[in-house]
């Protein structure tokens, strides 16, 4: 039985789109009313991340995968819901507590050109978190640590006084990973770490991440839209659509027997080298933005199997015989 590391329950996050307080007042049928427009990025996400696994979150742009990462890291506060790290509730920590807590979880960002401070050398970038979280270390011990760290991610320690612009994209992403590893966390969130990189460099970074996981028994939350990477790298996959998890399954189950109509469409759209003949399932339209809280299933507007029940009732995550969980009325009723 895998031990859960992080438990997310009923997590919601909405962003108000009104810019100013004045903009919120509207005249409605002769009366002045206050109206807040908001985008619902997360609509009740329930997830468990187990120790030592790689949970991949996939979905199209705007489905809330990056918001999930940011809320977990505490970079934006959640609107409601709870996040537990082992026994500790972490979604309402204050700044000081959170700063100390970051020793346990770290993040690698999408764009290595933007996530490294261009005015700090590699040494400065890495020494800051190390000396903050380990104030007892002497300068020479910090030096030693940085040496070992850079070597372990395949960057020559002789270049540690260089600035980020002197490195290539792949090298920068390695430095980002080194920065995340510098405080020896248990859990790393990687938000599309490969999408800015070439295929061959992607392979280098992915290999490095897998090596580190083996070495340090890391847990990854890996956010991506590249399903080929997911198939290779993930232990379990969560498919998200409009702020909800619609299918959660182990990688082999998901790729061999996808159940949710959205997962099926997503998988059929991967451009593959071998099967040139299969036509992707066409989804009508694109991901809508969530201005109103959805009534019924979030996928109803693009789903070819939607029936009246889907427009009224929001489907729950139901466990299937093969241990995957799917939120779909059609699957539940056996129509699919």
């Amino acid at each position: 039985m895998p031990t859960p590391l992080i438990q997310i329950s009923h997590l919601e996050k909405s962003f108000t789109t009104n810019k100013s307080w004045f903009g919120q007042w509207q005249i409605d049928r002769g009366k002045i009313r206050r109206k807040k427009d908001s985008v619902h990025a997360l609509n009740g996400v329930n997830l468990t991340i187990n120790q030592g696994e790689t949970l991949c979150v996939v979905g199209e742009t705007g489905c809330g995968k990056s918001t999930l990462a940011r809320v977990l890291m505490g970079l934006t506060p959640a609107s409601s819901g709870e996040v537990h790290y082992q026994d500790q509730r972490i979604d309402h920590l204050n700044d000081r507590q959170r700063m100390l807590f970051r020793r346990r979880m770290q993040m690698v960002f999408q764009n290595p050109y933007a996530s490294l401070n261009p005015r700090m050398t590699v040494y400065q970038t890495l020494s800051e978190p190390i000396s903050f979280h380990n104030p007892q270390l002497s300068a020479s011990q910090v030096d030693e640590k940085i040496h070992a760290l850079l070597e372990s991610v395949g960057i020559s320690p002789s270049s540690m006084d260089n600035y980020p612009n002197e490195f290539s994209g792949g090298q920068r992403q390695r430095i980002s990973l080194a920065r995340a590893l510098s405080v020896e966390p248990d859990f790393i969130i990687a938000d599309e770490p490969l999408s800015a990189l070439d295929v061959s460099v992607q392979a280098q970074v992915l290999n490095l991440m897998m090596d580190k996981q083996e070495e340090r028994n890391l847990t990854y939350l890996f956010i991506t839209h590249d399903l080929a990477v997911v198939e290779h790298f993930a232990t379990r996959v969560a498919v998200m659509y409009l702020g909800r998890v619609c299918e959660l399954a182990s990688t082999s189950t998901l790729f061999s027997a996808p159940k949710h109509p959205y997962t099926k469409a997503l998988l059929s759209a991967i451009p593959r080298l071998d099967n040139n003949t299969t036509q992707p399932i066409r989804l009508m339209g694109e991901v809508p933005t969530q201005m109103d809280k959805p009534i019924g299933c979030v996928f109803q507007a693009r789903c070819p199997y939607a029936n009246p029940r889907c427009y009224k009732e929001s489907p729950e995550m139901i466990r299937q015989p093969d241990n995957s969980t799917v939120a779909c009325h059609a699957v539940d009723e056996g129509r699919l």
Binding site: T61, A203, L206, N207, M210, H225, E231
Partner: protein, 333 residues
């Protein structure tokens, strides 16, 4: 008759007092209605090749030598008015980021009409009708409404469709698409690729697809050109390149794909990275990263040889073919 033929093209960049070669001896031909893909890592010169075909290489870059012929008309020596006639009307380009291509302060309609009216003398009303018809043909719902909207009101996939509509306005012979789907989601990517394919097939337009996604390439292109450090290293039918790559670089690119390794196993990475312009190694530029490199590779540049239906520039492949010939000769003796 070839529609477009590029021969011995050299493009250089004048940087910091050095003359650096970005494209070295690139030659290929494109026939009417043919779809060719150009693949390679960042820095291989794929985009520069796309730009130089419409003579858009800007300072400090310049076309050093070689010729680009569009139906026997030389593009490299054309004057600006002649070039403007070619750009858009004969050869159209689609870029990676649709938001950067569209003007954010003009409506979609104004931009489409402007494109038509700058090439043909017709009234605004007629131009609008053509524009709406083309928006319809790229499967944009309610084109009349979209006509008056600004680019930021559309989603990424929709914007790329608008770009494709702009390209179609003047019925060009060649579309150059520079990573048209890199900024899009998989589902949208599949739709855009299908749309591009349909358009090229129905109007017998030729497509030059610049991409690093071999999955996309295998769906679209009939022929593939693999580039490394400014040179073409392998060229052949796409299926042949994907199923039986000859050049170690092509092999490396394909092996690095996650679907080529068993789940959970290490991926086969290519060691090192693409050398920058000012550090191009001698001999075959791929030798520092090549697992099969010999002294010959370090000193000499391999020439193109035919291997089956592909052409490859690699000494190892050359030796293998020579050995095979020797064996054949011995057997016949």
């Amino acid at each position: 008759m070839n529609l477009l033929s590029v021969s011995n093209l050299h493009v250089n960049f004048h940087l910091k007092g050095q003359d650096l070669a970005a494209l070295i001896d690139v030659s290929f031909t494109l026939n009417r209605g043919e779809r060719i893909a150009i693949v390679g890592e960042s820095g291989a010169g794929k985009s520069i090749l796309g730009f130089s075909i419409v003579n858009l290489v800007d300072k400090p870059g310049y076309i050093k030598s070689g010729s680009i012929k569009l139906q026997n008309k030389e593009i490299t020596t054309m004057s600006l008015p002649q070039l403007q006639e070619v750009r858009g009307k004969r050869i159209a380009m689609i870029f990676q980021d649709p938001m950067m291509t569209l003007n954010p302060v003009l409506t979609i309609g104004v931009q489409l009409v402007e494109a038509i009216r700058s090439h043909t003398r017709i009234s605004f009303k007629d131009a609008k009708n053509i524009a709406i018809e083309k928006l319809h043909s790229v499967q944009i719902a309610s084109p009349e409404k979209r006509f008056n909207q600004y680019p930021h009101e559309l989603s990424g996939g929709m914007r790329q469709r608008v770009i494709i509509a702009t390209v179609l306005l003047l019925n060009p012979d060649i579309i150059i698409a520079d990573e048209p789907t890199t900024a899009l989601d998989v589902t949208i990517q599949a739709e855009i690729i299908q749309l591009l394919l349909d358009i090229c097939r129905n109007n017998s337009m030729a497509l030059l697809l610049i991409s690093h996604d071999l999955g996309v390439v295998s769906r679209v292109a009939e022929r593939t050109i693999v580039m490394y450090a400014g040179r073409v290293v392998e060229e052949g039918p796409t299926l042949e390149i994907i199923n039986d790559p000859q050049h170690p670089y092509t092999q490396g690119l394909l092996n690095a794909l996650p679907q080529m390794a068993l789940p959970g196993q290490r991926l086969n990475q290519i060691q090192g990275s693409m050398p920058p312009l000012n550090e191009r190694p001698s001999g075959c530029a791929f030798h520092p990263r090549c697992p099969y490199a010999t002294d010959q590779c370090r000193q000499q540049q391999p020439s193109f040889i035919h291997s089956g239906v592909s052409t490859v520039a690699c000494f190892m492949v050359e030796d293998m073919i020579n050995d095979a010939h020797l064996d054949d000769d011995e057997e016949s003796r």
